[in-house]
């Protein structure tokens, strides 16, 4: 892998409190990395430090293998790195001048500035706004202008700090799609601070989970979402069913795990007697009115619907099958099966859908 940026032994303290303590983290060139974690996890601090806008108390940042340890090197790195903050932070002038600002700092010729600005505005579909005052823009338009301003610099690395916050859902949806498309097309490396699971899944190839200033887990998006390393990460990435169990048997990697008074089959490599967590994502659980004959699922249980909660486009069901699991079901399926609280159903999931991780004692 080709790292564009690496941070090592990073420590940032504020008011005597450690807000960031990271041993090592790398950003691979050409990929999109999401920093996720709860509020106060240190995502914004890490981005500011990576951008050279915040001096760490300890540690080093390497940009393309070169340590960024002097003011001159920080300034040099900033020429290749763009930052987009949560607020649009536009100046009280026209859209064109806002997008041109960074290019003017770089002392480009008027012709080059015009070309870059026009390209960036076109990328984000806001060419028609060029002459408008930034003050008159809607939230979505302002965000597009701030993104265009960052992309106009043709950066190698772009850092986005919760850039989709405060946008209404339709605007956010469109912007996420457009940004993903632009990142794919330009191959610009991006680091995004996010706290939305769906945005992470849609945007990122790699994920770093932060909490209390430290890295809890890093890996590809699939690894983080399907194989969370801890109960906290599992909960944060939306694994709604986390069951405590004990491995009873291991037959060539096929585990039998006792959960409550039931037995769950899962794939893993743990010795019998090991206390474990079984994590199952809600989308991997199937709910039907009766056990399916043709199902390849190794885990099939009778269950009672404890609670049905309406979500935006589906129902969330809390089911009791001796242990409690959470499943999602489409609105039409729920209506077709005439399901209601108290109904008896069959719950099934594959052995491979169960992520097993050790439970510390």
């Amino acid at each position: 892998m080709n790292s564009i940026m690496t941070v090592q032994n990073l420590l940032v303290r504020r008011g005597g409190v450690t807000v960031l303590d990271i041993e090592e983290m790398s950003v691979e060139a050409g990929r999109v990395l999401a920093l996720i974690g709860p509020n106060g996890a240190g995502k914004s601090t890490l981005l500011l430090t990576m951008a050279g806008l915040l001096k760490p108390d300890r540690g080093r940042i390497f940009y393309r293998g070169v340590p960024v340890d002097t003011g001159a090197r920080r300034s040099e790195m900033r020429k290749s790195v763009s930052v987009v903050f949560q607020e649009s932070l536009l100046l009280n002038t026209s859209v064109y001048k806002n997008v041109a600002l960074g290019l003017m700092f770089r002392r480009l010729t008027t012709g080059d500035i015009r070309k870059n600005v026009e390209n960036a505005l076109a990328y984000f579909g806001i060419s028609a706004l060029a002459g408008r005052s930034a003050k008159t823009l809607s939230g979505g338009e302002a965000k597009r202008v701030s993104l265009a301003r960052a992309f106009a610099l043709k950066p190698e690395l772009i850092l986005l700090d919760e850039a989709f916050n405060s946008l209404d859902p339709p605007t956010r949806e469109t912007l996420i799609d457009d940004l993903r498309h632009i990142l794919e097309e330009t191959k610009i490396t991006a680091v995004l601070a996010l706290h939305d699971r769906e945005e992470t899944l849609r945007m990122a190839q790699d994920v770093v989970v932060l909490a209390d200033g430290g890295i809890l887990q890093s890996g590809t998006t699939a690894q983080i979402f399907n194989q969370p390393a801890s109960e906290f990460v599992a909960g944060f990435v939306g694994t709604e069913t986390i069951l405590e169990g004990t491995v009873r048997n291991n037959r060539n990697g096929l585990l039998e795990i006792a959960v409550a008074d039931k037995m769950i089959e899962a794939v893993g490599d743990f010795l019998p007697g090991k206390a474990v967590f079984c994590c199952i994502r809600p989308e991997n659980i199937t709910v039907s009115d009766a056990p399916q004959d043709k199902s390849s699922a190794r885990n099939v249980f009778e269950a009672k619907i404890q609670k049905i909660v309406r979500q935006a486009f589906f129902y969330k069901m809390i089911l009791d099958c001796g242990f409690v699991v959470v499943a999602y079901i489409t609105v039409s399926s729920c209506e077709d099966l005439r399901l209601c609280e108290g109904s008896s159903v069959a719950v099934s999931f594959k052995a491979t859908a169960v992520h097993v991780m050790p439970r510390e004692r």
């Binding site: 806008l53 300034s75 903050f85 949560q86 932070l89 100046l91 600002l101």
Partner: protein
């Protein structure tokens, strides 16, 4: 009542006849207060911006001092400047007591904290991350400061108006350090005080009206510039 009516009539006679003495006093008032405001703008904006953008021990105390300075009594400033430039004072060698230069210094001292306080508040009112965003776009520190000042131009114009308004209308310091010398250091406020003392209410009212018109015109101009920027 008759006194007032007579005074107003006389005032307009003086105004419409373009009395050379009145015109001279008006022009000197504009020159002295305009120059003092310009000087205060330089020091006020630069120090106000520096205080707003830096972190240092005792910053709150400094801000409190600046805010207190916004209400500096002109007579105290006049007294202080007089002592400093008195023949035996530390700056006595300059020999500027009872000159327009002394009046400019005194008025600049009065206006600077006003401009400084408003500049400081306006820079502090900008979004906290704007500074970082400008740096992230590749600006040098000086470029960043310049962009922030430009971004605060509306409140800064208000600072100019407040500074000019404060000094064009003050009398205590001007009379103490300028001496109200006819044709040399007599300005609208000092002349008004003198004429009122002499019982020449018509002339005093005329000078008062000119002072009001002058303050109004300058503020009208600045307001026009300010509102044009706001609507842009």
């Amino acid at each position: 009542m008759e006194l007032i009516v007579q005074g107003i009539v006389k005032a307009f006679e003086l105004l419409l006849s373009f009395d050379p003495e009145v015109l001279g006093i008006t022009w000197l008032s504009l020159k002295i207060s305009g120059t003092a405001t310009f000087i205060s703008l330089f020091f006020g904006v630069s120090i106000g911006t520096a205080v707003a953008l830096t972190t240092f021990p005792g910053k709150r105390l400094v801000i409190s001092l600046i805010n207190t300075g916004m209400g500096l009594p002109p007579v105290v400033v006049g007294l202080f400047v007089t002592i400093m430039i008195w023949r035996s004072g530390p700056l006595g060698f300059l020999e500027i007591l009872y000159t327009p230069y002394a009046m400019i210094i005194a008025q600049a001292i009065i206006a600077t904290p006003i401009v400084m306080g408003i500049s400081l508040a306006s820079i502090q009112n900008l979004p906290p991350n704007l500074r970082l965003q400008i740096l992230a776009l590749g600006a040098s520190r000086m470029q960043m400061v310049w962009v922030l000042i430009k971004e605060s131009k509306l409140p800064l114009l208000a600072a100019v108006m407040a500074g000019f308004g404060g000094v064009i209308s003050e009398v205590g310091a001007s009379i103490m350090v300028g001496g109200n010398i006819k044709g040399y250091s007599r300005v609208l406020t000092t002349a008004t005080v003198m004429e009122t003392g002499k019982g020449n209410f018509d002339i005093a009212i005329a000078l008062g009206i000119i002072l009001l018109i002058l303050a109004f015109l300058v503020n009208l101009l600045l307001t026009h510039v300010q509102q044009r920027q706001r609507l842009r």
